[in-house]
């Protein structure tokens, strides 16, 4: 054959085969030696790696404790939330038609354009494709149902269930209840220094009771060993794991529940009464210091926070001029204005510079040094005693008393009664308020106290700063005859199965023996404010309920003389007066004390008193229906109660002009002290 011509060349080629065999043996020899290295020499080590690979400790999440109100109305619960996830790895495996189908279904179910879905997927391209990508959190129930029914034809799509901390009443009392969030690295360090074991990704209380009661509410996570695959998916073959027949498991212990002193009906009534007004309200049981209601408006819904706050919502909250994130009951300072006058009155009576019969003439103004101080009523109140001075909020009377007392004596009594210091409520970020003294001014400004300032202090202005909770506690201590309690929110801690683990008892901070005369005059004065025709809050009277209190209207910025007496409602919101009301009910056997601050709500009588009234009525009717139901009151009034005539046009406004004649005053700390 023709091939024969190649013989020589073929022989030459055959010579080369010894090299080929050599290369073949060397090549496979390299492979063999690598096998020896990995499997024989490093075998044990590699075996151990593979063991660690597949057995993973998995956290068994413990449910956080629930929070109830005093009547066991559930306020905060753990509810399942459903998230839609896509695992790119599996999604990629599906055919082009399947992908189109999947997008089509999802877009229709979620009402989300397909381009958005693609955008979410594209954004996740950098990460390993076995990590699920969240498409949508908090699916609605019907969305979950529909996705589940289409799931078979949507590869890589899954619905994940997660626990969502849910504030059942939305934004009611969010400041008090607080919120949780994912622990951040600096918190982590702090918490773990204190001995707790937190990991990144864990939730922790960040605000309110959720924060303060973290130790109680938080359960103990359990853990178990599971066999997982490379994607961390738990791998159980036909119901049971092959390698972990009797793997140890540590059960999760649920967190403890809190029973609060709060009454949710009062909270709702207060929220409703506030409407879109801005401010805070605190209601305290004067017999114990239990907080009955505590709200700050406007508010926010913490449920949105529990699984991470969308930055858009967060910045909206931060930039809102009504500052919804601040708790206006404890975090903000306010000048108390006229509601402070009872402190001046108590100091005067107890120090003996006046007695219950002392009368002072009010002509509408008073000169101190070379300056004139005005009463809020231009023409003056005529002759007043301590009772009518409180009722009519006569400034001149308190100026005179203050002149006799000096600022330090007023400060002494204010401090006794719990002002100028934190009440000690178990919430973070409570501010102390400020009660000025001569020494304080010297230290703070390096200046001598001037006599005119004492007059301003007497009516709760100038440097005097208080918080809503201090004012509520002040009036609670008047109501109970002189005991200052430490206000508290948590009545009981109980285990998840309902056993009471700890109860909280009232805690007395100060116990004063006020002269019976003093108390009686103050109470009488306060009764008049709401119940006498000359009182400043007569419109908020609750016939038959003996609701008593004191209004305050506080100018927040310096205004020219013509503006002060101008109509408050026609001013810019930020420049309007703050409205204050503090009080308690019923007059002779107080069961609830209250303080309301309406920021820029113009008048204490119209901006704050009606809110207090709504809460007090709700409370008395709910807890003492035999005395205060509409029927019981009607019967009582018919039997002999004397209804008080209500004047047609009460224009009593106790705004004391801060009318520019005090230019010698050093700068006053802002009424809303922002320091935390």
């Amino acid at each position: 054959m023709a091939f024969l011509g190649q013989e020589e060349q073929i022989r030459e080629f055959q010579e080369r085969f010894k090299y080929l065999y050599a290369i073949l043996f060397i090549g496979l020899g390299i492979l063999l030696s690598r096998m020896v290295y990995l499997q024989v020499l490093k075998g044990d080590e590699m075996r151990q790696y593979s063991e660690e690979n597949r057995i993973k400790k998995v956290k068994i999440a413990s449910p956080r404790g629930m929070i109830f109100d005093r009547n066991r109305t559930l306020l905060i619960d753990n509810r399942p939330a459903f998230d839609l996830e896509i695992i790119p790895q599996y999604f990629k495996l599906s055919s082009a038609e399947e992908k189109v189908e999947t997008f089509h279904h999802l877009s229709r179910i979620l009402k989300m354009p397909e381009s958005d879905l693609q955008a979410i997927l594209d954004k996740a391209k950098g990460q390993p494709s076995f990590l699920p990508v969240k498409i949508k959190t908090d699916l609605a129930r019907d969305e979950v149902a529909e996705i589940e029914s289409w799931k078979i034809s949507m590869p890589g799509i899954q619905v994940e269930q997660e626990i969502k901390r849910t504030n059942i009443f939305g934004d009611v009392a969010s400041h008090l209840l607080g919120y949780i969030g994912e622990v951040n690295p600096s918190e982590l360090q702090q918490l773990n220094k204190a001995g707790s074991r937190y990991k990144l990704g864990d939730s922790v209380g960040k605000y309110g009771l959720e924060q303060r009661m973290e130790e109680v509410l938080r359960g103990q996570d359990g853990e178990k060993l599971v066999e997982v695959d490379a994607f961390g998916r738990i791998k159980l073959e036909r119901g049971k794991s092959r390698v972990l027949q009797n793997a140890a498991e540590k059960q999760a212990v649920p967190g403890k529940n809190l029973i609060l002193s709060i009454d949710q009906d009062l909270q709702l009534a207060a929220t409703q009464a506030f409407g879109d007004k801005v401010g805070g309200l605190v209601a305290i049981d004067p017999r114990s210091g239990e907080i009955l209601a505590m709200i700050s408006r406007p508010s926010f819904d913490p449920t949105a926070f529990s699984r991470g706050i969308p930055s858009q919502i967060w910045s909206q909250l931060l930039n809102n001029e009504h500052r919804p994130l601040r708790d206006k009951t404890i975090q903000d300072h306010y000048s108390p204005g006229s509601v402070f006058k009872i402190v001046t009155a108590i100091a005067g009576l107890e120090e003996g510079v006046i007695d219950t019969k002392s009368r002072i003439g009010c002509s509408g103004k008073i000169a101190v040094g070379n300056r004139l101080y005005h009463c809020h009523k231009k023409g003056g109140h005529g002759d007043v005693n301590v009772v009518s001075a409180i009722t009519e909020s006569c400034d001149i009377f308190f100026y005179r008393v203050a002149q006799k007392l000096g600022v330090d004596k007023i400060a002494k009594w204010a401090t006794y009664l719990g002002l100028g210091r934190r009440t000690g409520i178990n919430l973070a970020r409570e501010v102390p308020g400020l009660i000025p003294t001569e020494a304080w001014k010297q230290k703070r400004f390096g200046q001598e106290w001037n006599g005119g300032e004492t007059l301003s202090v007497a009516i709760g202005q100038s440097y005097v700063l208080t918080t809503a909770i201090q004012l509520a506690n002040l009036y609670a201590s008047i109501a109970n005859g002189g005991t200052v309690y430490r206000p508290y929110l948590v009545r009981e801690i109980e285990s998840y199965d309902g056993q009471v683990l700890k109860g909280f008892k009232p805690e007395t901070v100060e116990q004063h023996r006020l002269k019976p005369d003093t108390l009686e005059s103050i109470k009488l004065g306060l009764w008049g404010v709401v119940n006498s025709p000359r009182g400043t809050a007569i419109l908020s009277r609750l016939p038959g309920m003996d609701f008593v209190g004191k209004t305050g209207t506080v100018q927040v910025i310096r205004l020219s003389a013509d503006k002060i007496y101008g109509k408050c409602e026609s001013m810019k919101w930020r420049e309007r007066h703050n409205a204050m009301f503090t009080g308690y009910a019923p007059a002779n056997d107080p069961k609830i004390a209250i303080a309301v601050i309406g920021e820029h709500a113009c008048h204490g009588s119209s901006g704050a008193a009606p809110i207090a009234r709504a809460v007090i009525r709700t409370y008395l009717q709910k807890y003492y229906p035999e005395l205060y139901s509409e029927k019981a009151i009607a019967a009582r009034l018919k039997a002999g109660g004397v209804p008080v005539a209500i004047p047609a046009q009460p224009v009593n406004d106790d705004l004391t002009p801060d009318d520019g004649n005090d230019t010698t005053l050093p700068p006053v700390p802002s009424t809303q002290n922002r320091e935390d």
């Binding site: 011509g5 499997q39 690979n53």
Partner: protein, 384 residues
Amino acid sequence: MTHTSMESPPLLDESALRTSLYDEDFKKFNWNLLLLQIVLFLIGIWNLISATAVEDKSQGLYKSQLLWFSVGACVTALFLLVHYSFFSRIAYGIYFLNLMLLAAVLVVGRESLGAKRWIGFGGLRMQPSEFMKLSLVLCLAKYFESDRTVGGMGFRELLPASLLVGIPAGLIMLQPDLGTAMILLLVFGSMMLFLKVKPQVLLILGICGMLALPAAYKFALKPYQRQRIVTFLDPMSDPKGAGYNSIQSMIAVGSGKLLGKGYKKGTQSQLNFLPEHHTDFIFSVFSEEHGFVGCGLLLSIYLIFLVSGLAVAYQSHDKFALLLAFGVCSIFFWHVFINMGMVMGILPIVGVPLPFLSYGGSSLLTSMLGVAILTNIANKKFMF
């Protein structure tokens, strides 16, 4: 230059059939490679059943592998009926047809895992780049059959030949499929070296190659391919990301220790720690479950297989057959070496299947055709 070998024997006529099957002493028929192929395939199927036992998309894939094997068996039977000189005749035709298919893949191919490698014929998917390996060897064998260069090849002889590999390799790189393109280049290089290249040419090529390497790294490779090289040099640089495959597969191999974890008990693969464990990383499944003893046995089978293949080449009576057989052997050698080397972490990760063990129809079919060609050559050597 021209040889007249084309005259004999006529294709598929009765005398040819008689020559190939009946006239020969049946006992003398060389069954070696076919038997070894069956052994390897059975190990492959057995292993694939384990690798795809977990509940995911790959479950039950061994069934389609069986289907491909029966297709391969039929084609093998057909191959044995013809004389290999027939391959010589159609070599260029096959080569050009395959080039067309490669070009078609780029235009109408199906995409999967980011690469366009497949072309569909009805319900079947096919990977023309796999067949290109054989087509190239066929073409080169034909091209050099008549070559009479003495004292080794210079640039003048090498340049046209390198076009034959350059065009398909370029088309395959575009898919992109670095592994297959590399195999083509390695097979080409092996054949050139076997045919002998002038030492000075080798030296110059070597220097140029060294100089071109950084540029190729920078411009010719895609970012993910560069990443693979980086992680090959230092797998721990990104253990959860790009180095993950390499580390997990080394752990799988090593954790098999001497005797393995037992059939279907390989945790690395059963628990999905190994990606692609039914295709390119199939060897890690095998070595995890059967240990050093199993691996050594498997390596020995490949060794016997390759030695038998080389023996076929050695004993061929004409240059075309010798080159063809050698080329086919080099395909097998490089697949085994690169795949196992990659799985055991001594080579960067490139997509090269392990013959008969990796899942993949085109790959299996290509391997079987290779064995068919070798067997054909082996049994035609006595015909003169």
